[in-house]
């Protein structure tokens, strides 16, 4: 995964309204009006948020349906989480080897 895609994903999720939209979409498809319901913002404002999420690849909007419902795309999200977790795993594994190295040294020194 490219950093640019990660940047888009993270930037898209930086906004609380967009995170709420994603949480709602995790439960299933929804139209713009359904998504706008819990928020005190206009439909065009929600549409703008959806565009950001769509550009980040986090949702798709179904073009041929009358109300163009939005649907969650999990891949970029999983990639973003996976990327941070892989950095953490690398360090954890390295620390295991440091631990083994220090134990070996301790035994050699005694």
């Amino acid at each position: 995964m490219q950093t640019d895609q990660l940047s888009l994903t993270f930037a898209a999720l930086a906004d609380p309204t967009r995170r709420s939209i994603m949480t709602r979409l995790a439960e299933g498809e929804a139209t713009v009006s359904e998504l706008a319901e819990p928020f005190a913002v206009s439909l065009p404002a929600i549409s703008r948020h959806l565009k950001v999420l769509e550009r980040a690849g986090l949702i798709v909007r179904i073009r041929d349906a009358q109300w163009r419902p939005s649907r969650m795309q999990a891949d970029p999200l999983d990639d973003a989480v996976e990327w941070m977790q892989s950095r953490k795993r690398t360090w954890e594994a390295r620390m295991d080897r440091l631990d083994a190295h220090l134990s070996r040294k301790e035994n050699t020194d005694e």
Binding site: F10, A11, M22, M95, A100, H101, E106
Partner: protein
């Protein structure tokens, strides 16, 4: 990025470990090339002693190359040493690593805390790219929550 120290925990990898060794010993394992060669590389790679170069001072360099065991792949990493308090603290800023999708430098901060016969080592590595400086707040929690929801 003007401030090299990661201040937002959401963007950094954080690790805490206890080691059964003095902090001098743990600090040495990080800063003595002979010792680094013995442990640093991933399981399938070696960090050959002759390709480790450490100039242990603030403004100095910490460099090594990992070489695939039984293969030809290799991967070099380099850091500028930003802070150094022997045997308590080592702070280093990475060179950009395009091969690892790390185009921006990250800062590795290693603290060595004295617990008698043991050492508590804390490591932070980051910040990892978030696209904007405003992106940090709460995204890890949001991602975890969403990932859990998706997996359910």
């Amino acid at each position: 990025m003007s401030d090299p120290t990661p201040t937002t925990p959401d963007q950094v990898v954080l690790i805490t470990r206890f080691f059964e060794a003095s902090r001098e010993a743990v600090f040495r394992a990080w800063t003595d090339p002979d010792e680094l060669a013995a442990w640093y590389g991933p399981a399938h790679m070696d960090a050959p002693r002759e390709r480790i170069r450490i100039d242990l001072r603030v403004g100095g360099r910490w460099e090594l190359t990992m070489v695939q065991r039984g293969g030809t792949a290799e991967f070099s990493i380099g850091y500028d040493i930003l802070e150094l308090v022997e045997p308590e603290l080592l702070v280093m800023r990475s060179d950009p690593m395009p091969g690892m999708d790390s185009h921006e430098p990250t800062v590795v901060r290693v603290e060595f805390h004295d617990h008698g016969a043991k050492t508590r080592m804390t490591l932070s590595d980051g910040p990892y790219p978030t696209g904007s400086s405003h992106a940090a707040a709460g995204w890890t929690a949001a991602l975890d929550k969403l990932a859990t929801t998706v997996a359910a």
